[in-house]
């Protein structure tokens, strides 16, 4: 625990105190601290991939065999029976610091999808975790004053993120599936800090209480996605998507006196992908895309944004069996740019090797897929953020017999 002397604000001391106040309160740019990837901007983007797609490098467009991921609305034309699926993705994270690393974890439900095909039509509804802003940090320090010396503990916490609720319509026209999706982006962010002072070291009867602050932001935006998908041959399916999102309105709805409203430009996105059955038991897939987040950074106090590319490749092999059931095993690799990073730092790139397997259960009514992603994101020296992570995704889907 260090001792910091803020001292009586006399003469030059007052100027120093005011300068420190201005610097610390207005621009909280971490130099090389324990900044988690969920801290900058709107947080860490969460791929809306089910465990099968996640295990195949996140290549979730045009995936033969279907995917309860959410990206291209036209991919709903791949379903012939009603289905419901949910994915959970707990993630263990090791945040690299100047002096070592610290472990933490994040739990998410990245995607919940329902699909109802009706003839050549397919209707879908989904709930998607778009970004994750959850993190917390605690620190200890000592405040030395003319009243006494007060050790304190401080906790800073962000709780929230951006989610979307989406309604999708898709139709098969000839050999081409076309889809359109309307999404409402919602969510919020709660920022808190809490400083708890112990009594004075010199005199335990002297206390200075606590200091706290809280702000709440509510998010809302509208998104339109359109896409096409086609089965070029029984073993080859391709898919493409284009997305437009209106400005995200971030409204400070805390009880604070100043209520602010921010308009955050949201990206135009496109993505292409497909899968190809190179052998009867081997499927390969690839997908990539771009999102123009670069114009989204102006609203943030300590973060910048940049355009991002992503690319994923994967394979699925159907040669194994377990207790008489087929056991498809999967592997892949992905490289994904994260749109937000600390100000004056380099953008953050995430890479991961992915693995997984799936199985039909309960007489084929339900399907369970699991994925394990081992990866890292950022570079401490360059981007101010560096994490290694192990993400486990588990998807459970049920299909109407």
């Amino acid at each position: 625990m260090r001792t910091r002397t803020k001292g009586p604000a006399r003469k030059g001391g007052r100027a120093v105190a005011a300068l420190a106040l201005a610097l610390l309160s207005l621009r909280a740019a971490p130099a090389a601290a324990q900044t988690p990837a969920t801290a900058p901007g709107l947080g860490q983007t969460v791929p809306a991939a089910d465990a099968r797609a996640a295990a195949m490098g996140g290549a979730r467009l045009g995936l033969i065999g279907g995917s309860l991921s959410v990206l291209n609305p036209a991919d709903l034309t791949g379903f012939s029976r009603p289905a419901l699926g949910m994915t959970i993705s707990p993630e263990g994270v090791s945040v690299k610091t100047e002096g070592g690393s610290q472990g933490t974890g994040r739990s998410r439900v990245p995607v919940v999808v329902a699909v109802v095909p009706r003839g050549s039509w397919a209707f879908g509804a989904s709930f998607v975790a778009e970004t994750d802003q959850d993190w917390s940090i605690q620190l200890s320090d000592t405040l030395s004053t003319a009243f006494g010396t007060f050790p304190f503990e401080e906790r800073r916490e962000h709780d929230g993120g951006l989610s979307s609720v989406n309604l999708t319509v898709a139709r098969t026209i000839g050999s081409i599936g076309a889809g359109i999706e309307a999404g409402f982006l919602t969510g919020g962010l709660r920022q808190t800090f809490f400083r708890n002072f112990e009594t004075a070291i010199e005199d335990p009867t002297v206390g200075i209480g606590v200091a706290r602050g809280e702000a709440r932001f509510g998010y809302s935006a509208f998104r339109l996605r359109g896409g096409l998908a086609t089965q070029l041959s029984p073993g080859l399916r391709v898919s493409g998507m284009l997305s437009w999102t209106g400005d995200l309105e971030a409204k400070q709805d805390t009880a604070a006196r100043e209520v602010a409203r921010y308009e955050i430009p949201m990206p135009v996105e496109w993505a292409l992908g497909g899968s190809y059955r190179v052998a009867s038991r081997l499927l390969v897939s690839a997908a990539g895309g771009w999102a123009g987040w670069g114009g989204s950074g102006d609203a943030f106090v300590s973060s910048e944004a940049s355009d991002v590319w992503w690319l994923g490749v994967g394979a699925e092999w159907l040669g194994l069996r377990l207790f008489g059931a087929g056991l498809p095993v999967r592997a892949g690799f992905r490289r994904t740019g994260l749109p937000f990073h600390p100000v004056d730092r380099d953008p953050i790139t995430e890479t991961a090797f992915t693995f997984g397997a799936g199985i039909d259960v309960a007489g084929g009514i339900a399907t369970m897929d699991a994925a394990l992603e081992l990866g890292s994101r950022g570079d401490l020296a360059a981007s101010g953020v560096e994490e290694s992570f192990t993400r486990f995704s588990l998807s459970l889907s049920v299909t109407q017999p």
């Binding site: 803020k6 906790r155 800090f193 943030f300």
Partner: protein, 426 residues
């Protein structure tokens, strides 16, 4: 999912077994634990430092201070000094009333036939007593001029009525005793006819009273209790019956009299003095916002002036408490109503601890300033504070403190302030 079904084997696993696997996997899900940071300046997230500021009162938008005296006077104080020193002359006045004309003895009320003997008994606080090397004599005189208990001073028997001789007009010597050493109980026998004296006091309700003085150069007796003892003959029994009466109408005369405070600030003294202030705070000070901020601690800081000469040198520690004043003390005056105390405890005013001139007396007023800071400006409480020393009037000594007119010793307001965090999107 037509394609899924086709892509996978027709074989299946029991749902229960896989469910158990799923539950185990979820149970292993990672928990979100906070990261530990060592450097607040580089930690992520928006925060705000807790800043110490100190504002001299001449930099405040408004400040007035004064010392009012009279909250404890010799008549109401427990301080009773008998002194015969170069610095201080002090005497005690009193009246003995309620002397009995009958006494209850073993369930029978018996008439007092005669007061056979009488004496004054003084219980002395030996720790605060200075006894002359050559001994001291305690004398009790009849007082010739009636006095008013709450108005009598060394020079006055009552408002506008001076003694013929300052210090009380001494009449007949009633009791006397010489002591060559200090003891905690001094018995001074009545040397006149006890029966006639006590009958006289009984019939006159003690008027006009008596005065106790000590002679013996350098003697200062701190008398904690004074009583008249007597032995009386009563009807029907042969033995004498003894009794005690505590004098009423007691007060103390002393010379020199306590100087008036004037524009100086003081705590202590007799008559007891309090410090009353009224002030306003700026919304910001050196770019540190005060209004709207969390005030973690606020205190009035007074600076000691030079020690007073004897006999007004503060010798013992006073306990100083800050109270909220419920009206403007510069309109209402000394009788300004007093509200709640502004801190959970008192602050010791230790004359030795203050040290040289400029030593600080720091009196917390956090609750008042904290409320002011977060209240709407139109409904914020007025910043009016009184400082009360306990015990009030327990000693002649007092501590002078710098006022707003004392350059170099001006009070100030010291605060620990945590400004509101101007949260923005991260």
């Amino acid at each position: 999912m037509k394609a899924t079904a086709a892509a996978r084997s027709a074989g299946v696993l029991p749902g229960r077994a896989v469910s158990l696997l799923a539950i185990a996997a979820i149970a292993a899900a990672c928990t979100e634990t906070p990261l530990e940071e060592v450097d607040p300046a580089s930690a992520p997230g928006q925060s705000t430092p807790t800043v110490e500021i100190e504002i001299p009162v001449d930099a405040l938008p408004f400040w007035r201070d004064t010392a009012y005296a009279g909250y404890a006077i010799p008549a109401t104080s427990s301080l009773r000094l008998l002194a015969d020193s170069a610095d201080l002359q002090a005497r005690v006045l009193g009246r003995v009333f309620n002397l009995p004309d009958s006494i209850l003895v073993t369930d029978t009320t018996r008439a007092v036939e005669r007061f056979d003997a009488a004496f004054f008994r003084l219980l002395v606080e030996t720790g605060d007593t200075v006894f002359a090397a050559g001994g001291a004599e305690v004398e009790v005189f009849a007082i010739e001029t009636p006095y008013v208990q709450r108005e009598a001073t060394w020079g006055l028997a009552a408002d506008g009525e001076p003694w013929t001789t300052p210090g009380g007009d001494l009449g007949a010597l009633l009791a006397t005793a010489a002591f060559d050493s200090l003891r905690d109980t001094l018995v001074v026998p009545v040397v006149v006819d006890a029966d006639s004296l006590l009958r006289s006091w009984r019939s006159s309700n003690g008027e006009p009273g008596f005065v106790v003085r000590v002679t013996g150069a350098g003697t200062v007796l701190d008398v904690r209790a004074l009583a008249l003892g007597f032995e009386a003959s009563v009807t029907g029994i042969d033995t004498l019956v003894s009794g005690f009466r505590t004098p009423g109408g007691a007060t103390m005369l002393f010379d020199p009299e306590t100087p008036a405070p004037g524009s100086a600030l003081r705590l202590g003294a007799l008559p007891a003095a309090r410090i009353y202030t009224s002030f306003d705070l700026p919304d910001t000070w050196d770019d540190v916002p005060i209004r709207g901020s969390t005030v973690n601690r606020a205190a009035l800081v007074f600076r000691a002036g030079p020690s007073e000469p004897a006999p007004f040198t503060l010798m013992s520690t006073l306990a100083v408490t800050a109270v909220q004043l419920l009206a403007d003390p510069f309109v209402i005056g000394p009788k300004t109503p007093v509200g709640l105390t502004l801190s959970s405890g008192s602050v010791p005013l230790d004359p030795e601890g203050l040290g040289e001139t400029g030593g600080e007396l720091v009196v917390p007023i956090t609750s008042l300033v904290a409320l002011w800071a977060v209240a709407d400006p139109d409904s914020a409480p007025a910043l009016r504070v009184g400082l009360i020393a306990d015990p009030e009037g327990g000693a002649l000594g007092y501590q002078r403190l710098g006022s707003s007119s004392d350059a170099g010793l001006r009070p100030s307001i010291r605060m620990l302030v945590t400004p509101r965090v101007p949260f923005r999107l991260p």
